[in-house]
């Protein structure tokens, strides 16, 4: 299963390295989002700094959506989905592989976003252990949920419009948990933040488990 996961993740990441869609399109997209927040909220009055945790996680959520869409767009051409299904790879492995590749991509985007909020919003990065653990657990949860919902929407004519509707309400706990944990870290009140981390961890474990369990049903259809 883990060998299959590495194969699939390797394939997705190799395509990314060669096509450079993440570097040329998705990365700049998340920076555009940061810019838009600055336009919406007056940058001189400290709103941006105050709202940094929330704005950061909205930017992450939107980026995650694009990453998931990209992850399944890779296979929409040349009957890639059929090929993956016929390859005989373990469905749980395929799930872990696709989620793993998205994890790497999304983590890279988040590093860019962290640097972005540090430089552009003037956010201080106190309490970095909490920030790091929050980012890791939240990202696992996001890519696990995203990979399931991406598969659910894949191959349908309405996939681009259906995916955000399915995905975004489901990750409400990640949005709330990530924002609160970041807020706690930046305020220096870590104890509350770790509790939120626990919730993010539960979400991540639940969705990884559900994904491994349900992916077989999702790979079945054309």
């Amino acid at each position: 299963m883990f060998r299959d996961a590495l194969l699939v993740a390797g394939k997705d990441l190799r395509i990314e390295v060669r096509s450079k869609v993440v570097l040329n399109q998705i990365g700049p997209f998340s920076l555009v989002v940061l810019l838009l927040f600055a336009f919406a909220l007056d940058p001189d009055r400290g709103f941006l700094q105050e709202a940094t945790p929330g704005l950061f996680w909205i930017a992450v959520l939107l980026s995650a959506l694009v990453v998931v869409q990209r992850s399944y767009a890779l296979e929409s051409v040349d009957a890639g989905r059929d090929a993956l299904r016929l390859s005989g790879l373990d469905p749980a492995g395929v799930f872990l592989g696709k989620a793993g590749a998205s994890f790497v991509v999304l983590m890279a985007l988040e590093v860019g976003l962290i640097i972005g909020v540090r430089l552009m919003y003037g956010a201080s990065l106190r309490g970095w252990p909490l920030l790091l653990v929050t980012t890791l657990t939240a990202t696992v949860g996001l890519v696990a949920a995203g990979t399931i919902y991406g598969a659910l929407a894949a191959g349908l004519r309405v996939r681009e419009t259906l995916l955000p509707l399915l995905f975004l309400p489901v990750v409400a706990p990640v949005m709330i948990g990530g924002t609160r944990a970041f807020g706690a870290a930046l305020d220096g009140s870590s104890a509350e933040g770790w509790r939120w981390c626990g919730l993010l961890g539960t979400f991540a474990v639940a969705y990884v488990a559900l994904g491994m369990l349900l992916f077989e049903s999702l790979l079945e259809d054309s």
Binding site: A153, L166, I176, W196
Partner: protein, 300 residues
């Protein structure tokens, strides 16, 4: 309330003569009358007979509608959606799929009504239509999840694909609810004192009775609607599965009735069968029960 579907005289339907042709049965007729009677009594109790609340005044009467709707939609509806989804993934039969679909639709209806009645209650009592109360937020997210489920069901015509994918979505939505609940509870709970709960204040005997009677009434209405919706969904599937065959058979019969089924005649019959499938007897059958559902929904 029943909607009877007349089988088209020309189409051969011998194989389906035993199948139900309406969304009602003797059971639903009895249940419908019981539900109607209970609803009349419930409304009389809630709106007229029970006393106004000491703090909330007459606004408390909305609770006799709001809370039962929230509970039947949120617990009964979503619970059945989860059971139906798991059942489908396990057994792979249309029964479980249609059960999940019917329950989800009713859950959507009741959750929507919960939001509306909640907002109407919030205006006089809280002073705003919307408050970021944990339960309100949870209901709103649940409403969106159920809309997503419905969107998935209408995204494809392939019944197997639809059943499989919507079962996964139903299961995930139900599994997500406890997590959302926990997160919104903490989210608001950490910064806000407890919200007003109708059960916190001591209810007097008649109010308590009205409250529980309302619960039972809405549960009965829910079951009645569920049976109708399930049978409608089942009939819909039958229509979808048979409409093309029926249309072809009907055109053939027409061609034979016109006489001289020569090579040109049969070619014409086959050609027109495909073109007229959309307006054949199948779609006539499909529209009849659909009208029945709208009526059911309006009656509740």
């Amino acid at each position: 309330m029943t909607t009877t579907v007349q089988p088209a005289a020309t189409a051969p339907r011998a194989t389906r003569s035993a199948a139900p042709t309406s969304t009602g049965s003797r059971f639903t007729r009895v249940l419908g009358v019981v539900a109607l009677a209970m609803l009349c009594l419930q409304l009389a109790l809630a709106l007229v007979i029970s006393p106004p609340d000491v703090l909330q005044g007459d606004a408390v009467r909305l609770f006799y509608l709001h809370v039962p709707m929230a509970i039947t939609g949120g617990y009964l509806g979503v619970g059945l959606l989860a059971i139906g989804s798991i059942g489908y993934l396990w057994k792979r039969t249309a029964f479980w799929d249609l059960l999940a679909a019917s329950a989800a639709e009713l859950a959507l209806l009741f959750t929507g009504l919960t939001l509306v009645t909640g907002s109407l209650w919030g205006r006089p009592v809280w002073g705003t239509y919307w408050e970021w109360d944990p339960r309100l937020t949870l209901t709103a997210v649940l409403f969106l999840l159920l809309i997503g489920y419905r969107a998935m069901r209408s995204a494809t015509l392939d019944p197997h694909l639809r059943a499989r994918r919507s079962a996964v979505i139903g299961l995930l939505a139900a599994a997500d609810v406890p997590l959302i609940r926990l997160s919104v509870d903490w989210w608001r709970g950490l910064h806000q004192t407890a919200t007003i709960n109708p059960l916190d204040t001591a209810l007097d005997g008649l109010m308590l009775f009205t409250f529980f009677f309302s619960m039972v009434t809405f549960a009965v209405i829910f079951v009645w609607l569920l049976v109708h919706r399930f049978r409608l969904a089942w009939l819909d599937e039958q229509v979808a599965a048979h409409s093309l065959e029926d249309a072809i058979a009907e055109r053939r019969a027409e061609a034979e009735a016109a006489g001289s089924p020569g090579p040109t005649g049969s070619a014409g019959a086959t050609g027109s069968a495909g073109a007229s499938a959309a307006s054949g007897p199948g779609s006539a059958v499909a529209t009849a029960p659909a009208a029945g559902t709208t009526h059911d929904g309006g009656a509740s």
